[in-house]
């Protein structure tokens, strides 16, 4: 009996040990412990884009670039417009606009405040998107070589433009121009930065020359007339011309202008714009406000705009006579800022009018004074003013050129930059005792520069 029971038990145990083994082997064979690395379900992931982008996804990245150019431009406008004494941004809940930016009493430009950190990052976000576009175009199997060059050209042009805007804020403090990877390049000084930007534009230009007849992605109506590689490259040259005069390379500017869309006989408003709309996911013009809005939330023209305006000049239309004076923090203005007349008015990146003025400036600086006068007269006549009748000397013409730039490019972010590059910041009006005109913004603190 004992042996039978023992052998029963032995049988039982052998059976059970096989069962256990089966279970364990079964589990491991089933691979249930394996996990698949899934992509983000809520949006396109960077990894997928860089390695394996479809043509549609590349188009989305390009559209994102065009759209991103508009982000926080109102903060850029407040920065350059206030310091350049072009506009007042009165916002009762934000005392730093009329305080820090105008150097009220003891205030300084803080390096960790939104007026520099936000627009600075917004431009670099677009730069990052352009680098993503380049990388995904490179690695994509769905674009032809021409289309790839088109993508590179577009990316490099916009990247250069965005870097330029940040350079205009930090000026001699420099910017980083090499941000292609997470291993950031160093800050370079203004000279080097301008050189790098110019080179970037030139590289983009040569890409565009090999980009065939069409881009692989759509461009909005803001690029109407500039949405093929052949026409887009004239926009590239236009930006390059601006960079050249910022770098005081006036002869180069004249050469570059020949390849741009400059048209002395054409509409001064021809150019490339950021457009706006109320559609889903889109944006309205953030600089637009009712010009007669209450003081606590208004954009107001600097009083000197009206007082220095020549009689008859139709650029009086860029301001609006308010029903009540706007006042805030010891400042005041009777005219509201009225360059953008509706919430969907476009914002210019660069226009024909500026190109003519660049040509005028370059002609002055290279000794072609009569040529400069004729360009200035194009501008003057277009705005109901008679021909220039002042002295035909370099210094007088520079004054006139700067004046025409002031009014023609009012509300487009140029005044402070122009006065600064001609060392005339001390000529800008001081409205309250103790106010300062700043030369540049500090590098944003998170840069750890």
């Amino acid at each position: 009996m004992k042996s039978r029971i023992v052998s029963d038990l032995l049988q039982q145990k052998i059976l059970l040990s096989f069962f256990i083994t089966l279970v364990i082997v079964g589990f491991s064979a089933c691979d249930i412990l394996n996990l698949k690395d899934k992509v983000d379900p809520n949006g396109p992931s960077l990894q997928a884009l860089s390695q394996n982008a479809t043509k549609d996804e590349i188009a989305n990245v390009a559209t994102g670039i065009e759209s991103g150019v508009r982000v926080d431009i109102n903060l850029y406008m407040v920065d350059v417009g206030m310091i350049g004494r072009e506009v007042y941004r009165f916002l009762a809940s934000e005392p730093r606009f009329t305080g820090d930016l105008l150097g009220k009493e003891n205030s300084v430009l803080d390096n960790n405040t939104f007026y520099i950190t936000r627009p600075w990052r917004a431009r670099y976000a677009v730069v990052r998107n352009t680098n993503i576009l380049v990388e995904s175009a490179q690695n994509s199997t769905e674009l032809t070589d021409n289309e790839k060059n088109g993508a590179y050209g577009f990316a490099k042009t916009i990247q250069a433009y965005q870097l330029l805007l940040n350079l205009t804020l930090t000026y001699d403090n420099g910017i980083r121009t090499d941000v292609a990877t997470d291993n950031l390049g160093p800050f370079v000084n203004r000279q080097t930065a301008l050189g790098n930007i110019a080179t970037l534009l030139d590289d983009g230009y040569s890409d565009l020359n090999n980009a065939g007849g069409a881009f692989a992605f759509p461009l909005s109506d803001g690029f109407a007339g500039f949405d093929t590689p052949a026409t887009f490259k004239t926009f590239n040259r236009a930006i390059a011309a601006r960079v050249a005069v910022y770098d005081a390379k006036y002869q180069d500017a004249l050469t570059i202008l020949n390849d741009s869309f400059i048209d002395p006989a054409g509409d001064l408003n021809t150019g490339v714009y950021s457009i706006f709309s109320t559609a889903s996911g889109d944006q309205i013009n953030p600089i637009y406000r009712n010009p007669d809005a209450q003081s606590g939330d208004s954009w107001v023209a600097h009083p000197s705009y009206i007082t220095d305006l020549e009689a008859g000049d139709d650029r009086i239309n860029k301001v609006f006579q308010r029903s009540q004076t706007a006042t805030l923090d010891g400042l005041g203005g009777d005219y509201g800022f009225y360059v953008y007349k509706t919430q969907t008015d476009p914002y210019p990146l660069i226009r024909n009018e500026e190109l003519i003025l660049i040509r005028a400036e370059s002609r002055i600086q290279t000794g072609d004074l009569p040529g400069a006068v004729s360009d200035l007269n194009i501008i003057r006549n277009a705005h109901n003013l008679p021909d220039y009748s002042g002295a035909q000397t370099e210094s007088a013409l520079i004054d006139e050129m700067l004046k025409q730039r002031r009014y023609s490019l009012f509300g487009e972010g140029h005044r402070w930059i122009d006065m600064r590059r001609y060392n005339r910041l001390n000529q800008l009006p001081i409205d309250r005792t103790g106010d300062n005109v700043w030369q540049q913004f500090p590098i944003p603190a998170p840069e750890n520069a």
Partner: protein, 1026 residues
Amino acid sequence: MKLKLFYFPIIVCLILLTTTDILHAQFKVNGTVTDSKSGEPLVGVSIVVKNTTIGVTTDTKGNYDITVPGSQATLTFSYVGYISKEFQVSTQTGTLNVQLKEDVLGLQEVVVTGLATSIKRQNAANSVATVSAKELGGTTVNETIDGALYGKISGAQISANSGAPGGGFTVNLRGVTTINGASQPLYVVDGVIVDNSSNSAGLNAVTAAAAGGSSSNQDNPTNRIADLNPEDIQSIDVLKGASAAAIYGARASNGVVIIKTKRGRIGAPKISFSQSIGFNSISKRLGVRQFTLETALANYAPPPGAGATPDEIAAYQARKSFVESLYNNAEQNGFINYENEMYGQKGLLSNSGLSVSWGTAKTQFFVSGLLKNEDGIIKHTGYEKQSLRANIDHQVSKSIHLSVTSNYIHSTSDRGLTNNDNTGVTFGVSLAATPNFVDLRPNQNGIYPDHPFNTANPLQTRDLMTNQETIDRFIASGKVDINLLQTNSHIVKVIAEGGVDNYTQQNKSVFPRRLQFERISAQPGTSIFNDVTNMNTNLRGVVLHTYNPPSGQFTLVSQAGLSINNADQNTIVSVANNLIGVQTNLDQSASINTQQNRTFQNDRGIFLQEEFNVKDTYILTAGVRGDKSSRNGNVDKFYFYPKASLAVNLSNMKFWNVKDINQLKLRIAFGQSGNFANFGAKYTTLGPSNIGGNGGILIGTTRGTEGIRPEQQTEIETGFDASFFDDRATLEFTLYQKRITDMLLNRELEPSTGYQFETFNGGEMTNRGIEVGLNLNPISSANFNWVSNINFWKNTSKVNKLPVPAFRAGGFGATLAIFQIEQGQSASQIVGIDPVVQGPDTTIVTRKLGDHEPDFQMSFYNTFNIFKNWEVSFIAQWKKGGDNINLSQLLFDLNGTTGDYDDTDFNTTELRAAVAGIQPGDVNGVKRTKLLGVSAAQYVQDASYFKLREVGVYYNLPRTTLNKWFGDNVSAIRFGVSGNNLITISPYQSYDPEVSNFGTQPVAGGVEVLPYPAQRKFFFNVKIDF
């Protein structure tokens, strides 16, 4: 591989064969087991031959019959809720009748250890808190489970986020254990990991709460554990830290709450019907300012300054006569106390529950249903819940046992619109803007007047808006227990357990065009629809081997297994603006915006645990869990979480002869657990950015961290458990230290990368604490029995290492006081502006003003049985210390409507008064308003409290009366009265010290911005058992 397979079973066989099974003669013992007090037979008592696996259970009459091998042995009698007994038996015994004594102090409770095992509390090496069904719901009716836990778990801080119906609680076990990760414990119900998310309703479209100083949604959401029916719960075990919870691995950093629901019984159906009816009312009123014509004009029509223009003077005159007319109207027709208007409703509460439990020896059933209907203290708010449960246990064959639970819940809650906003529309914010002399009530045509001083009329908002949350939830689990092998010394079991948790949460919020604040908006009428679908599935397989050698020297329990968890959630929120007429459908609008967000989580875990018990004297446990998860940067990497513990029962040792100390156990435990990274932390997601009708994508502010890892917690816990005086008193003492490393922190990136933030792992934080529990049965006589439970606990947290600069977390800026995470400081410190003297100057700096962590907490739970049929019990809690940030008072002050505005008893330091320019004659409201911008100390208020949480007085009809009236049909009738939150004593200057504007957001608890006020509840309860 094949060769290994061949050898493996041989090895297993050899191990098993080394046991020697020797057969001897045998004898029988029989008898009856009864309750020592009542004499009632006990059904299902387990009788085991000690140190073997031979056992039987008593039948429905309490009788048993067991065949014992050999000629003598020891029989162990054990039954849940009763103290086990051992008897020596031999061939001479024959019949043995046993009386078991009820385990009043819970000495013989069984606590969870491992994923498939429990251990007697006497042998446990951790301090595991247990809450029995009686403690949970025996005193009064509770709305939700987490709400019922306060004051019952030592070491826990459980706080209601607001008084809104439908729940919303923050549970912190042993302090703050994360800064940016998930902060709530893991809830396991009958083996299923259930979802406990707090899903926002999308109300920001109307409140714009996230547009101001904080980007949190502040929607006052509920959390999903609220759905379960507290009456279904049999027991709750709480594993408070990594040393106990390590076996749950990478989800267990915040602790694990293990919930078991009731099971069927062997015998005729026991039907239990309970009905509670009650009402609730606001706990504390703050009072409203009694305006005089003078103060009304000063507040609402202040005269213009010296250099006023004629326009401004005219405007002032108009305003003055307007306010005068309002005031005169009030003098004639009566002033209105709007606090009473809004919060003064006495809500009707009704709870009906029915449970039936029956079964045979083979199959047991438990079926229960709940109908709950509770009104809130604000009109048109309330909570309704219907729940149905069926639990089945079935012994399929001698070695296979099947257990199935299923629960369907449907609930609807109307929560009103409270807490913070930036548009003036929530009840609290618009109430703060309402003085007692305006009349905002509707006229006889139902038209509400516009609020003259605010964008919203709170009465109109309350009556016309909808904010309704509907939950449909189904939780089911199944467990199969297979006894592969059962010999005298070995038991090998395979347990397969799985479950599903599926719910749909729908939030429907409608703000019709007619509302005052909607009419002035550019797109009047808002309809928000939020739809969340969630599916959790778990599967677990465990092999369990128990080895009891016949020598009885030790017991070895080994378990190994794997665990698979999947969770998917899909949230779609649509906001429609500019509604057509009185329509509420989303498409009946001029503009509609939709957002979708999906999250998923896939986890795989393996675990192994060994428990080595030497004669209940030395109990050594060691184990490890490995987890991998889709949340981690590297999904293929296993993160390992070991544990080890030792319990030494000094009282079981031979030398122990201290008569009065029945048990003394020393214990030490160590464990590690983790906390997953937040969903999406590893992705760099491009967001939509469209232009000119083309769809574009642009990088966002966050750069994904490809190598993100879970946070890691290491806990060491030590202490002792003792019981005295013939088990009439027990003392539990625990010291613990938790160290959290690899914390999920956000780092600001260089903006020239294009990004602003990324999440990274770093930093270190510790929590140290002490928990003491004393259980007493001071008086135990026939006519008076008193059981008392006193707990004391204290926790201190500290941020040891922080590789980023100190940052703010939770609040609205230093001016209003805010939490700040800083190296070397407590994780819950509150900082704010305050003037300090530095040399000759006085400057305003930001400094520490308080701490949300309490100095200590105590809880008192007392049950009295008087004259056999009366039962009185109460739970009280004392929290000492711990500050809140009270911004409700600030908002009342800024609007000039605080109840004590005109009093003069508010005091502040001389320095603050001087810097703020406070004059001797200033009233409270003026003083406090002047301090805004000077010091934030007035908002940091002591939130200590003493609360009488639950009180119940019950009468059980005596047996003789029952028999006389109902014969055999009714086995028990119990009725009584009870109350929740009846007394709150606190220096805190607002509705209730338990509040959280930011919901369960870690670190940010205790900030108050005009919440739904807390209530006290009264119930009349009847329970009938058939």
